[in-house]
C-alpha cells in the first residue's frame, strides 16, 4: 500500500467511531462505506468499534436515572429566582422556529393549498394597493389586529409553507426586517420594514422588492 493510500486509510479509520454512531455527514459516510467494502482489515477493525459502541451504551444505560428530588430541587431554585418579565423579542431564529412549530403536519398541508390561494389573491391586493395610490377614496387592504405601535413603516407578511427556517431568517436579516407582532391566525406576521415612516411611493417600492423573494407567500402594507 502506498503512502497516499495509507494516509487515506488512516483518515477513514479515524472516522469509524462516528460512522458506527451514525453521526457522519453524507460525504464521509460514503467514503467510509466504500473503504469498508474494499478493505477486509478495515472491516475487521470496524467490528471492534461496533463492540465498543455496544458496550458503552450498555454501560451508560445501567447508570440509572436521577431521583425525582432533582426536579423538585431545580424548581425550588427557579422559584427563588427574581420574577422574569416576558419579553416580546426573542432571538429571530427562535421566533421563526416557533412560527413553524406552531403548525401540525395537517395544517402544513392545508397551508400549501392556502398559499396557492394567497398567491392568486396577492395580485388582486397589490393591484388594489396601486389603485388606492391613485384614488385615495378607493380600495383599502385588510390587516390583522396589531399589538405593537410605533415609529416606522410596517407590512403584513406570510411565508411560503415550504420555506425553511434558514431561508426565512436570511430574508429577514438581509432586508433588516424585525417582527413587530404575530403570527396571527393564518401565520401572518406584522413586520417593521423601515425605522422611519416612508413616503407612499417609497413604501410601495420596498414592498414590491420584498415580494420578489421566494420565501414570501403574501405581503401587504399596513399601518
Amino acid at each position: 500500500m502506498n503512502t497516499a493510500n495509507e494516509t487515506e486509510r488512516s483518515e477513514i479509520e479515524d472516522l469509524l467511531p462516528w460512522h458506527a454512531a451514525g453521526t457522519l455527514d453524507h460525504r464521509d459516510t460514503q467514503r467510509v462505506e466504500a473503504a469498508l467494502a474494499e478493505d477486509a482489515e478495515l472491516a475487521r477493525r470496524y467490528e471492534l468499534v461496533r463492540e465498543e459502541l455496544g458496550e458503552t451504551i450498555h454501560l451508560n444505560e445501567t447508570l440509572g436515572a436521577p431521583s425525582p428530588r432533582t426536579m423538585a430541587a431545580l424548581f425550588a431554585k427557579i422559584d427563588a429566582e427574581p420574577a422574569r418579565r416576558p419579553t416580546v423579542s426573542l432571538n429571530l431564529s427562535a421566533r421563526i422556529g416557533e412560527f413553524f412549530a406552531s403548525f401540525s403536519p395537517r395544517t402544513l398541508a392545508w397551508s400549501a393549498t392556502a398559499a396557492a390561494l394567497a398567491i392568486m389573491l396577492q395580485a388582486g391586493i397589490i393591484a388594489g394597493v396601486m389603485l388606492k395610490d391613485r384614488n385615495p377614496g378607493g380600495y383599502e387592504t385588510a390587516s390583522a389586529p396589531t399589538t405593537v405601535t410605533g415609529e416606522g413603516s410596517y407590512a403584513l407578511i406570510r411565508f411560503q409553507p415550504s420555506a425553511n427556517v434558514t431561508a426565512v431568517t436570511n430574508f429577514l436579516e438581509t432586508n433588516k426586517l424585525s417582527i413587530a407582532s404575530g403570527p396571527s391566525a393564518g401565520g401572518v406576521y406584522r413586520m417593521r420594514i423601515a425605522a422611519t415612516k416612508l413616503a407612499k411611493p417609497d413604501l410601495d417600492r420596498a414592498v414590491k422588492q420584498l415580494q420578489q423573494d421566494a420565501v414570501v407567500s403574501f405581503i401587504a402594507i399596513t399601518e
Binding site: 453521526t23 471492534l48 458496550e55 458503552t56 454501560l59 436521577p66 432533582t70 431554585k77 427557579i78 401540525s104
Partner: protein, 186 residues
Amino acid sequence: MQTTSDEVLIGRIANGDRLAMQVLFARHHVGVYRFVLRLVRNEATAEDLISDVFLDVWRQAGKFEGRSAVSTWLLSIARFKALSVLRRRPEEELDEEAAGAIEDHSDDPEIALAKKDKGAAMRECLNELSNEHREVIDLVYYHEKSVEEVAAIVGIPEATVKTRMFYARKKLSELLKERGIDRGWP
C-alpha cells in the same frame, strides 16, 4: 405526532415559561446526569450538578444563539460544572474513588468470570479509562455527538478530537489485553 423542538423550548424558557422548562428537563436530564455521573462518579454530586445545569439554562436561555444543538449546549455546561467540582474535591477523596474504580483483578473469581465475558470486561475497562478518554468515548458512542460537537463541548480542535478518540480506544485495547483479551489492534 409533532414535538416542539429544543430551540423553540429555549425561546419559551427565555420568556419565563416553566412548562417549557419541565419539557426540556424531562427530555434531557437523564443523558446529562449520566454524562456528569461518569465524570464525578458520585450520584448525589451528579444530581446536584444537573439541577445547577438546568438552572443555568433557565437563567441563560435568552442568550442561547442556536449555533449548536441544545443538547450540545447542555453537555458543555454540565462538563464545565463537573470539572469545577472535581477541581474543588480534596485529593484524598479522588484517590479513594480512583482506587474504588480500579479493581484489583489478580486471582479474583469475579474477574476470572469476566474474562469469559468479553462484554463485561470491556465495560470494566471503559470504567478504568481516564476522565479525558472516558468523556470522549461517551460523547461519541453514547451521546451521539459529531466530531464538531465534541470539539465544541470539550473545547479542543476537531483534529484533536479524532486523535483523542484514537488514544482512548488504544488504551481500551491495552486494558483488555491486560485481562487476556487481545483484539489484534492497534
